[in-house]
Subunit: 317 residues, 2 copies
């Protein structure tokens, strides 16, 4: 999680992994062991090596110890699901809720196709409509926050809005938690391919989701789409038959087009999974030649022999 | 503010400048212009050049445009002052409030000497006792949060706890806002010297404040101390007569001893003001030779001719 600066469902409220890392012990390429960051809550001392190591996927140093901040458990936890007539209503509701400052701890989108997948997998019995899962954390006043959220959702014609706590909340959320298994189980002939991880400014989220649907239609592909909507992060699987070279090629083209669209909207190729080996081709389109040149200069300076996780993150010259 | 990753009174709730910077346009040493970061709320794409540029004090590139996140204005703002019998009570109250999760927007400490300075400067009429200024921001439920804070402060024998809004709140806070002017005006014979900016883990804040008082006594110096207590950041002025070489020497020694103490406690030499030219000697004691070596390698890689803000941040080899 430190290596990719991972994030997830709670990021909309609590931030990314980097926001919780205070100090790291790191083995550098020359074998020296150093500490980056400090145990203080903030620092303006020297270059931010801490944030450089976090998310560098083991290419600049190896993390051998980490000091993390902790947060208390909230006194109140409540959550549930909201169903919308159209996907545009659902994405606009999420975008408005986040920009209006509704204090959600999680806010997740399902398109109708994803709801259908979930129903196939279990007895979730979801309406096969676009929906938004939300969860709230507070020490007091959770009802006011839920009412604020409901008010924003009502502007976007929300059809059902059920919030609960405890077991009933878990039940309402179960389909979201199972979605990766549901997608894997859906069609034994199909594989999921590389999962999409683009992230766009929250105001462009509705447009990005429409782009996924348009690109899927254009290439005649089945692309269920869901994700950490509150961050502008979306995930999609291009379900494809690996024995069908034409479908594999169309899936690959669709994947690339969606990354391009996200970059046009001011976003990023990867919100939380990292570049690894598979997304190196997108680094320069996203950051430009000068920035990738700076990344390469840093890599060469800190790992001159290229021994640390070679073949990942920074593309070869 | 971007160059030093500045912070301040509201950091305890809202974070540092880096937490609000999404994207920067930067001119690199070779004259190329690049964009680092993106407009998305999060990213795991490549090395975090954004956080490397923020706080690099113009030594790695020149920022020519910035895209920042915005937050809404809170619906409720309330604040005031709490007075404590001893400095230990005041610092323990701050440390406990923050670690217990009291949602303060500002929480600032004055020692009795600082209260005295403030009284000399204006008709603030403060009790010359240790005190804590607090401010709360919320959209609802601000009374519950203030009660939570009062409860924690009562454990530490708080003697007075007055909260208000609007003009009365501003009045209660005025001495804190004037403190730099008050210190400058206090004794026309004295100068303030380099202001202390150490930051320690919040659990060590009481110990760090005691160290300031002990070091001041040891060197027979007048060192009023105050600061952004909620982050573990403290400021202190060593008031000294510039024409008295012995006092200047003692002030310098005291400054260095306090940085050493902060580093022993796991903290940093500078919480928000940066290294600049004046604190370069503390970079290696804080980060160690290997980390400073990595910083120097990055500097050499991105600015091989040393044209960007020379003589600052990274010490000469």
């Amino acid at each position: 999680m430190i290596a990719t600066d991972a994030s997830g469902m709670r990021t909309v409220k609590y931030g990314e992994v980097a926001d919780w890392v205070l100090e790291l012990e790191v083995v550098l390429a020359d074998g020296s062991v150093t500490t980056v960051g400090s145990k203080a809550a903030k620092s303006s001392s020297g270059y931010n090596l801490l944030e450089l190591i976090v998310g560098s996927e083991g290419t600049l140093g190896i993390v051998t110890r980490a000091t993390l901040e902790l947060a208390g458990r909230p006194e109140q936890i409540r959550g549930g699901r909201a169903v919308f007539p159209t996907l545009d209503d659902a994405t606009a509701a999420v975008s408005d809720a986040v920009t209006a400052g509704v204090d959600v701890a999680k806010i997740e989108l399902f398109d109708a196709e994803t709801a259908m997948l979930a129903n196939e997998y279990s007895d979730a019995d979801l309406p096969e409509r676009p929906m938004v899962f939300v969860e709230f954390h507070a020490n007091h006043g959770i009802d006011e926050e839920i009412d604020f959220c409901r008010g924003v959702f009502e502007v976007h014609d929300v059809e059902a809005f059920e919030m609960a706590e405890g077991d009933r909340m878990d039940e309402l959320w179960r389909a979201r938690k199972d979605i990766t298994y549901a997608a894997e189980a859906y069609d034994p002939e199909c594989e999921m391919g590389q999962p999409g991880d683009v992230t766009v400014p929250i105001g462009s989220y509705p447009e990005m989701i429409r782009a996924v649907k348009d690109v899927a239609d254009e290439h005649d592909l089945f692309v269920p789409c869901f994700g950490h909507a509150g961050d502008g992060n979306l995930h999609y699987f291009v379900l494809r038959d690996s024995d069908d070279p034409d479908e594999v090629a169309r899936a690959k083209a669709a994947y690339g087009e969606l990354v391009e669209r996200a970059l046009e909207l001011g976003g990023t190729a990867t919100g939380e999974h990292g570049i690894g080996a598979g997304k190196r081709a997108y680094l320069e389109p996203e950051h430009g030649g000068a920035a990738v040149g700076a990344m390469r200069a840093i890599k060469d300076a800190l790992d001159p022999n290229g021994t640390l996780n070679p073949g990942t993150v920074v593309p070869d010259e």
